[in-house]
Symmetry: C2
Subunit: 328 residues, 2 copies
């Protein structure tokens, strides 16, 4: 294993210190317990808190700032943050309008956010993200939350910034989640530093279809194939879930998992856009790049969100975070 | 080799089509010959044109837009664009205030931009970028242009947007280039699609110090070492070139070469900031992420720019491109 680090145990902390230093105009870091907040406390708005295991940067810390999250709680790599982090973050950003937790559907995250929420002395709601259509809806622990998470964070973040109340933010978040579907594919797996080798091996002529973001295997190991065929398989799975109608406006998000060149992500975007345009779907907004990564995994995911006018308006609203920024 | 592609020969074109589709609010693509321009023609300002081999995305196409480039000419992977691309780009964006070419110092790029410029029927100047301090100043073909290029593009782009004339833009660009030094390190090499394998091999316990951005070997193959030691070697080389004085304000840019997780880039940023802060240097502005890549190379570069008030003002000015955006 070759990585830029000193001691594995210090990687997360050293990295967050660098993140905080590089973006001190937008965020600040609390070290004990670990959480990130905006550097300007807000008043009179629903506070959005997300978090989860580290290793998915820029998710979630890179999305703290005006028009998006109020706080993010980073756990150790691929490990849920602890309730004390979430409690401290909530106490830090609570401003009487209530707290909305945005939680990716993993057992540890769900449990720890619940523990923290129940100890809170303020109104709160939780939006659970489960956009990964590579698992059936009937899967025992439900579907996973993956790259669609940032779309919920962006749209609900804009709504909260405009003064939407807690119940409506919760309902909007659930709606965006329901309108969003994602599926991922890996060409090579990632290496968790503490493990020191890839979490699974893929032969030189194999790809892994339906991967999540924690180096777990997908639902199918397949022969390597053209980008066009990869896009077809993923787009078909998304269509089976969302069933977009002709003339539907959509947001198309192609997300790199860590080691995939932007050039290839744009090629995938082009093919995915062509696939849906042929069906009369309107690619109305787009996002291409590394946003929800899985350390150094080579691969990508495709996310489609069915948009309505309110969602478009909120997607376009100003956002000023370390890794998503426009209109500010 | 596993990559997301259909035919290797179509990779660049398919990718650029995706790029153009994803960012149609900012840029437009001309396919024959290949070049990218802003989607709104400007008037009465110096037009900035850059370009070079592809495989370094988001450089240069991702930096076309308000406050930065007027046009970018992408060559084939790691191959100079041709004079007809540059000529066509120049004719497309020329608006009587003259053209400034920003050229990384590689023989092919320099030659082709010269050929194009000499055929032009309008005033022009060229800023040659040679920020890579891993080669001695006396190197036969001079030093290479690497990650410092975008800093020149941003600062001169802002100046041109404010109406600075051609001679002053040229002089400013030269000054920023002189005040900028970069050195890169690779943990693993990149795979050029047409070659199908890494351009050089590195053992599991070796790193390559002083790499460029084309998969060429660096000046030293070294044993793997801590991130702190890597930063020291690079920072020493940069200091030897720039000799920053106490209280000097600087821009610190940590650039990922393609496959390095953001978490590790922030760790490197943290160590580099500590290194210079200990010497009394003021880390006044920062940029961390994948900006000048080398396909899927695992590695990073550190760039330092000595800032004066004019440069700070121009760095902070609004920019609205696909991959660098603030204040708009």
């Amino acid at each position: 294993m070759k990585k830029f680090l000193n001691n594995i145990d210090d990687l997360l902390e050293e990295s967050l210190q660098g993140f905080a230093k590089a973006h001190s105009d937008i965020i600040q870091l609390n070290e004990q317990p670990l959480f990130v907040t905006r550097n300007k406390q807000t008043t009179n708005k629903v506070a959005l808190i997300s978090g989860g295991g580290s290793g998915h940067e820029p998710l979630h810390t890179g999305f703290v700032g005006l028009g998006m999250l109020d706080s993010a709680c980073p756990g150790q790599i691929f490990t849920s943050p602890t309730p004390d982090q979430m409690m401290a973050a909530a106490e830090s950003v609570n401003n009487e309008a209530g707290i909305l937790f945005i939680v990716k559907n993993y057992a540890g995250d769900v449990m720890n956010f619940e523990i923290a929420a129940e100890m809170l002395d303020c109104p709160y709601e939780t939006v659970l993200i489960d956009d990964d259509v590579s698992l059936p809806k009937t899967h025992s622990t439900g579907r996973r939350g993956v790259a669609g998470t940032l779309i919920v964070e962006k749209i609900v973040g804009a709504a909260a910034e405009k003064g939407m109340n807690l119940a409506d933010c919760k309902s909007l978040g659930d709606r965006v989640n329901q309108m969003t579907a994602t599926m991922g594919v890996a060409l090579n797996c990632c290496t968790v530093p503490a493990l020191g080798k890839p979490t699974f091996e893929l032969a030189a002529d194999k790809i892994e279809m339906g991967v999540g973001i924690h180096g777990e295997r997908g639902h199918d190991t397949m022969d390597i194939m053209s980008a066009t065929d990869i896009v077809k398989i993923i787009a078909n799975a998304i269509d089976a879930d969302l069933n977009p109608k002709k003339s539907q406006k959509v947001l198309l998000h192609v997300n790199g998992l860590g080691s995939t060149p932007l050039m290839e992500l744009h090629l995938i975007f082009n093919l995915a856009a062509q696939y849906w345009e042929k069906k009369g779907i309107e690619i109305y907004r787009s996002l291409v790049g590394n946003y929800t990564t899985s350390l150094d995994m080579t691969g990508c995911s495709i996310t489609l969100t069915l948009l309505d006018d309110e969602m478009i308006h909120l997607w376009d609203a100003p956002v000023n975070t370390a890794n998503l920024r426009w209109g500010c």
